[in-house]
């Protein structure tokens, strides 16, 4: 085995195999720097300020919801206002299986994926038949209908009390260590999502998604199978979001629709998306941490008034930064859109 650092390249020779990684020379643009910071943060929190561990978990999970939502928005060319429906679907599926069948998180994860896939496929035709405002309104409606169903069938969903007694995600005996481990798991899921969606948005598949986002009729005339692309871009993110529902379920040990299905939770996710910048996955991570910490700070400073001030601040941010934080960068580098490719003569 031989490891060699060349200019902008890390070369690993393992027997006859050769692996190369390009190193981003500008450290401030190297994603690994930021991944390193995100990994160190929970460790620092564990030693110095363990009470912010739940906020870090929330931040990672918000980002993990916003990242696939960005892909869904780009690939369908429509704004989904009901991503929390899939959180509810995945969460309730995991909770019900865990409580009634005694299944652990590993098995309920498969159930949550299956349920996410089922509802994703079931609702994906909406991206073809409904456009613009109609699509947005319909997607807005689904979680609210689901919430009503949880109240009507209280014997199954336990209404606003919620289901409890769900098998915990991890249990090593210490609450703080549990929180640290869960924080790393949330970070791991978020990073996996970021990696997957980043790879997709840099691939040739993304050119079709970007074309659909701009003008799906022209995209189809240029040979893009718009229906297939939309169904893929709707269903897979739906499954990814359902997995977060599964995570919430096993993380808290209780799951209640009233926490995730109302508009307030949807607003939080959309704000993450907006503040980070639409279809900017790194921006979504920034947005997730921003929203989670803003909420924490406001609760500590303002107590009961915090929800009002929280949404006022977000509204001001939306008005002043219509393209999110990434918009500030884009103003200076207007060519840096996704997917981007430069050729030289």
């Amino acid at each position: 085995m031989e490891l060699e650092v060349k200019r902008e390249k890390l070369v690993l020779r393992l027997g006859k195999q050769k692996y190369e990684w390009h190193i981003e020379p500008r450290y401030w643009r190297n994603p690994l720097t930021y991944v390193g910071i995100l990994v160190i943060l929970p460790v620092l929190a564990y030693f110095f300020y363990p009470t912010i561990l739940p906020t870090l978990i929330d931040a990672n999970l918000l980002a993990a919801i916003a990242i696939p939502l960005g892909w869904m928005t780009l690939g369908t060319g429509r704004m989904n206002f009901g991503p929390q429906f899939y959180i509810g679907a995945g969460g309730y599926a995991a909770a019900l299986c865990s409580i009634h069948l005694g299944w652990g998180p590993a098995i309920t994860l498969i159930v949550a994926i299956a349920v996410g896939l089922f509802f994703g496929l079931l609702m994906s035709p909406l991206t073809i038949v409904a456009g613009g405002l109609y699509y947005t309104l319909l997607t807005l409606l689904f979680p609210l209908v689901f919430l009503e169903i949880t109240f009507i069938y209280t014997d199954i969903f336990k209404g606003d009390v919620g289901l409890f007694g769900i098998a915990p995600m991890v249990n090593v005996g210490s609450f703080t260590v549990n929180q640290l481990l869960i924080c790393f798991m949330a970070l791991f899921i978020m990073l996996i999502y970021m990696f997957i969606v980043d790879k997709i948005l840099r691939s040739k598949f993304a050119t079709a998604l970007a074309a659909i986002n701009d003008d799906e009729e022209v995209a189809e005339a240029m040979g893009v199978n718009v229906r297939k692309m939309k169904i893929i871009s709707f269903t897979i993110p739906a499954v990814m979001i359902a997995i977060i529902g599964w995570f919430y379920s096993h993380y808290y040990g209780t799951f209640s629709g009233i926490t995730y299905l109302p508009l307030s939770f949807m607003l939080k996710i959309l704000m993450v998306n907006m503040i980070g910048g639409r279809v900017q996955i790194y921006g979504n991570v920034v947005g997730g941490y921003f929203i989670a910490f803003l909420e924490l700070i406001l609760i500590q400073l303002l107590g009961d008034y915090s929800p009002v001030v929280f949404y006022i601040i977000l509204l001001i941010l939306l008005l002043t930064l219509p393209e999110g934080l990434f918009g500030l960068y884009r103003k200076r580098h207007y060519r840096e859109y996704l997917p981007t490719l430069h050729v030289r003569r």
Partner: protein, 245 residues
């Protein structure tokens, strides 16, 4: 010459309006067919029927012997039908290069074609249309003339056999229009495409087209050589009004 496209007895109505009424014509390989008619004659609707945006109410469309009447637009594109739009419809958030890359990637099913391969192809088409220097400019920042060039580059990047050119000269000044006509002629020579050219500017069409089809109120009223069409009293009546006949 081989017949490349055959449109037989195609009709399309929107509510009570008969946009295309029992129209039949053929296009032969390598020719430039002009499609003329006053505003609202049904020219663009006919193109939309052939490219798949609309489905015909009746009649049949055959492309290279294959019935494409009910085929999805993307499949028609992969077969070799491409188009430009009367009012340019760029992908505003994409750069000129990336919008041509979309066509190069999806216009045909090619095995093992990477994004970089498609970019190389796209570069060629951009250079052909004189837009290489604008490759990294967002489409929404291009001028009308550049957008026309981009539309052609995008259409050619799908490696079509038949290109529908919808009023390429609309909104261009005489110099730009002349350049656009030359570009189309070069495209025909270099890429061996067959062109169906919809145009209001009769002079340009008379010069470039081998045959001309004339539509009026959705009906085909004349078909023939450009000089015969120019002298056809029915066509003159449609364009200039009955008092001039």
């Amino acid at each position: 010459m081989n017949e490349i496209l055959n449109v037989s007895n195609v009709s399309k109505h929107f509510g009570g309006l008969m946009a295309v009424d029992n129209v039949s014509f053929s296009i032969y390989e390598g020719e430039t067919l002009g499609l003329m008619g006053p505003n609202g004659a049904g020219k663009t609707t006919l193109v939309n029927l052939v490219t798949g945006k609309y489905l015909a109410d009746s009649g049949h469309i055959h492309f290279l012997g294959q019935d494409i009447t009910r085929m999805a637009p993307y499949k028609r594109c992969k077969l070799g039908i491409s188009r430009t739009y009367q009012i340019p419809r760029p992908f505003p958030e994409l750069t000129a290069l990336m919008s041509v890359v979309v066509s190069a990637l999806y216009g045909k099913d090619r095995e093992n074609q990477s994004l970089e391969d498609a970019a190389t192809d796209a570069t060629h088409y951009l250079e052909f249309c004189g837009l290489f220097s604008k490759r990294n400019v967002l489409c929404k920042d291009l001028t009308l003339y550049e957008l026309r060039g981009l539309e052609l580059a995008r259409a050619l990047a799908t490696t079509p056999k038949l290109v529908f050119v919808d009023e390429v000269m609309a909104g261009l000044n005489p110099t730009e229009a002349g350049k656009a006509v030359n570009l189309l002629e070069r495209a025909k020579e270099e890429f061996g495409v067959t062109i169906l050219w919809i145009e209001h500017v009769m002079a340009a069409l008379m010069k470039a087209a081998q045959r001309v089809v004339v539509l009026h109120y959705g009906k085909k009223i004349a078909e023939g050589l450009p000089q015969d069409i120019a002298n056809d009293p029915v066509v003159i009546e449609c364009y200039l009004g009955s008092c001039h006949v």
